[in-house]
């Protein structure tokens, strides 16, 4: 139906694809599969300049030579890369015909999270149009930022409006050669966020993907770039607590953060992608490469609460290049039913007097497997490096698993590295104690889990923290074994 792959190939041969393409294409979706033609299709659909297309093609050529990594402690059916649609039209498509068609469990979850009815409808795609209010809120928000010289827009927009910045920084922290999924993302990334904070500017509000007038579509291969120029500060929130369904199973995003001298970036994520059903069928694969680069005296803090996805594979990391730079990683990763997570961080100490802090809280329930994998690397040049790592595991049932793979590579004898790890379970006795004080089991688990995660939740901006707490409680309902 519509434009076929053959017709597309013919167009490419004719070298007239750039313009003919855009006006001839009626279909909103690229045909399934991944080849050079599809990449050109994507680039043309997005009206990208030549250099962007070249970037993609280069990455694609590299990707074809790479092999899929298999070292993570996760088992999943390998995605068929030829069986994926790599481009869907940006306008938001209705996912359900009416409110009645929406999954009742999803409705219940959103209600528990305290999401307003309007917002629920928007999130499930029942209401296609934005409520007037959100458009005007976003508009006034943007003008405030513009006054300060802050750029916050979609990645696609940035490619067109701020090419110098994008070209300078894109791929500088996560090069396309970095790994299999980064190469794939570099070839077929769809959209994401771009943020630039000018010298000395402190961004006055938390930047959230909610406020970027999202042109819709799913975050399948998101590409995000945040640059804080010298002395700048920004706190960025990614994700939302509402359960997100998606027919696209593979999510391979790339997030690059650059904190120049004396700058600070706080990047918080709450992720609740569809985790699969109680039997472990379906669910999203979340394979993300996130990395930040710190120049002199700079600081980058990653905070994440991961409760969704069938398989999570990510290591938000910091390269502490500049002297006196600081990297921090705070994480709560929850797995339930048949979910699997292999997540952690890498702190690479290059400069002098660098510091890193890692606080990882894993919670396993059901029959899930939760692994922490961390690397603390102190280079020869990294005099006086300091690291503190704490990875704790909480087991909720006797069928789940918690695993820890900490790596320390130290090539400088002046370094101070501390590592602590604990494994615990929520005792029946603890639950009974709460019950006997009149607290319901649900509330008891919520109290105990939140207490366990407190150190991490305290790092989140307040509204996010409140939502994250509720989310934790919901993810673990009925899970004490």
């Amino acid at each position: 139906m519509g434009y076929t792959e053959n017709e597309l190939a013919k167009d490419l041969e004719n070298q007239e694809y750039k313009f003919g393409f855009v006006t001839n294409i009626e279909s909103d979706k690229a045909p399934k599969g991944l080849n050079e033609g599809i990449i050109r299709f994507i680039s043309a659909k997005k009206e990208e300049p030549e250099w962007m297309l070249d970037f993609r093609l280069k990455a694609f050529a590299l990707w074809k030579e790479m092999t899929e990594p298999e070292w993570a402690h996760v088992h999943y059916e390998k995605p068929d890369f030829q069986d994926i649609t790599y481009y869907s039209a940006p306008k938001q498509t209705k996912k359900y015909e009416s409110w009645d068609d929406v999954d009742p469990e999803m409705k219940e979850t959103m209600a528990k999270l305290g999401i307003s009815m309007e917002e629920q409808q928007r999130l499930t795609g029942v209401a296609v149009d934005f409520v007037m209010d959100s458009v005007s809120v976003a508009t006034s928000f943007k003008s405030k930022l513009a006054e300060l010289g802050i750029i916050f827009c979609s990645f696609s927009e940035a490619v067109k409006e701020h090419p110098e910045l994008v070209r300078k920084y894109m791929g500088s922290v996560v090069p396309m050669t970095d790994n299999f999924y980064a190469a794939l993302n570099s070839a077929v990334f769809t959209d994401g966020s771009f943020c630039y904070i000018p010298k000395g500017v402190r961004c006055p509000m938390e930047l959230s993907t909610y406020f970027r007038i999202n042109e819709g579509g799913t975050g399948q291969f998101e590409r995000t770039l945040v640059v804080a120029d010298q002395g700048a500060y920004v706190s960025y929130l990614e994700g939302c607590t509402a359960p997100q369904r998606d027919e696209n199973q593979l999510h391979a995003a790339v997030v690059e953060l650059i904190a120049l001298d004396d700058a600070e970036i706080k990047y918080s994520t709450v992720q609740n992608w569809y985790p699969g059903d109680k039997e472990g069928k379906g669910g999203i694969y979340n394979f993300v490469t996130k990395r930040g680069l710190c120049e002199r005296n700079a600081k980058i803090a990653w905070t994440q609460v991961e409760t969704g996805s069938a398989v999570t594979w990510k290591y938000p990391s910091c390269v502490l290049k500049g002297d006196n730079s600081i990297g921090e990683f705070y994480s709560v990763a929850v797995t339930n039913n048949y979910q699997q997570a292999d997540t952690g961080t890498k702190m690479i100490h290059l400069g002098k007097n660098t510091k890193s802090t890692i606080i990882s809280k894993g919670i396993s329930a059901g029959k899930s497997q939760n692994s922490y994998r961390g690397l603390v690397q102190i280079n020869k040049s990294a005099d006086n490096a300091r690291n503190f790592s704490q990875c704790d595991s909480l087991l909720m049932t006797d069928e789940c698993g918690a695993h820890t793979f900490p790596y320390i590579e130290c090539k400088n004898s002046s370094a101070k590295i501390e590592h602590e790890a604990t494994t615990s379970k929520i005792g029946e006795d603890q639950i009974f104690y709460c019950l006997q004080r009149g607290i319901s089991e649900e509330k008891a688990i919520s109290l105990i889990v939140n207490g366990y995660c407190k150190e991490v939740l305290n790092q989140l901006p307040m509204e996010f923290a409140v939502e994250a707490q509720k989310l934790l409680a919901i993810s673990l309902e009925g899970s004490v074994g």
Binding site: D429, C434, L435, Q436, R437, G438, I439, K443, L447, C453
Partner: protein, 251 residues
């Protein structure tokens, strides 16, 4: 307040309570003593609603409610409090957060409004004084790093905050030194009223010097076999339990 009739309870198929009868009216303190293995802690657990135990026969009327029909949390919300023999630690959950959650759940159950932060903190200050508990401990995690004495005092502090109709003190005196014992007993005494009742489970007469009971019961082999005034406790202290056992065997 509470009437227990012919209570039979087992765990893992083994019968521990074999037809226990007990009546504790409002306004009174009853002590339960007995040798190890008699079923004292089992009684406390069964009344609190521990699911490991199976009630096979009997009834328990708690101020007009059928206790055995209620879940553990509902029993608590109806006004039953158990001061644990070995209070458990709950890392990461502060005492205040814990108690405020409990208090509000109980209030919700009773159709009352949640307590305001201000009123709650005032209550914390007032009640922690009753057991001479340093208010700073209130912001620490539940029982985490508490000494034995502090844990037991924390139990009574919670009791003071939740104001139950019936308090069951399960060997609250175990592991306490003389001073801690005095403070705990003082606390319990201050909370006594015409409207509530207390069951004190203990091995030793010593606690009963401070918490003077109205009636002393002896629990032996899963049943209450003897009841008497406070002097009975002194008699047990002097003679031990052998004479009770002999009496029972003779029957």
């Amino acid at each position: 307040m509470i009437t227990i009739k012919n209570l039979h309870a087992s765990i893992d198929g083994k019968e521990i309570l074999k037809g226990l009868n007990l009546e504790v009216p409002a306004g009174q303190v009853h002590a339960i003593m007995g040798p190890n293995g008699a079923g004292k802690s089992t009684l406390a657990s069964v009344l609190a609603g521990r699911e490991d135990y199976e009630v096979t026969e009997g009834s328990v009327d708690f101020d007009g409610a059928d206790l055995l029909e209620l879940s553990t949390e509902d029993r608590a919300r109806e006004g039953m409090f158990l001061a644990f023999q070995y209070p458990v630690e709950i890392p990461g959950v502060s005492n205040v957060n814990f108690l405020r959650t409990a208090l509000n759940e109980i209030r919700e159950y009773r159709g009352q409004e949640a307590i305001s932060a201000k009123d709650f903190m005032a209550m914390v200050r007032e009640k922690s004084a009753i057991v001479e508990l340093d208010p700073k401990l209130a912001s620490r995690a539940v029982n985490e790093g508490f000494s034995g004495g502090e844990k037991k005092r924390n139990e009574i502090f919670q009791m003071a905050m939740l104001e139950p109709k019936l308090a069951i003190l399960d060997e609250t005196d175990s592991g306490l030194d003389i001073d801690a014992l005095r403070i705990v007993a003082n606390g319990v005494n201050k909370l006594r009223s015409e409207k509530n009742a207390t069951i004190v489970i203990t091995h030793y007469q010593r606690l009963l010097d401070y918490i003077i009971p109205d009636v002393v019961h002896v629990l032996y082999d899963g049943r209450i076999v003897k009841s008497g005034p406070k002097e009975l406790a002194l008699e047990l202290e002097e003679k031990g339990y052998d004479w009770i056992k002999a009496e029972q065997e003779a029957k």
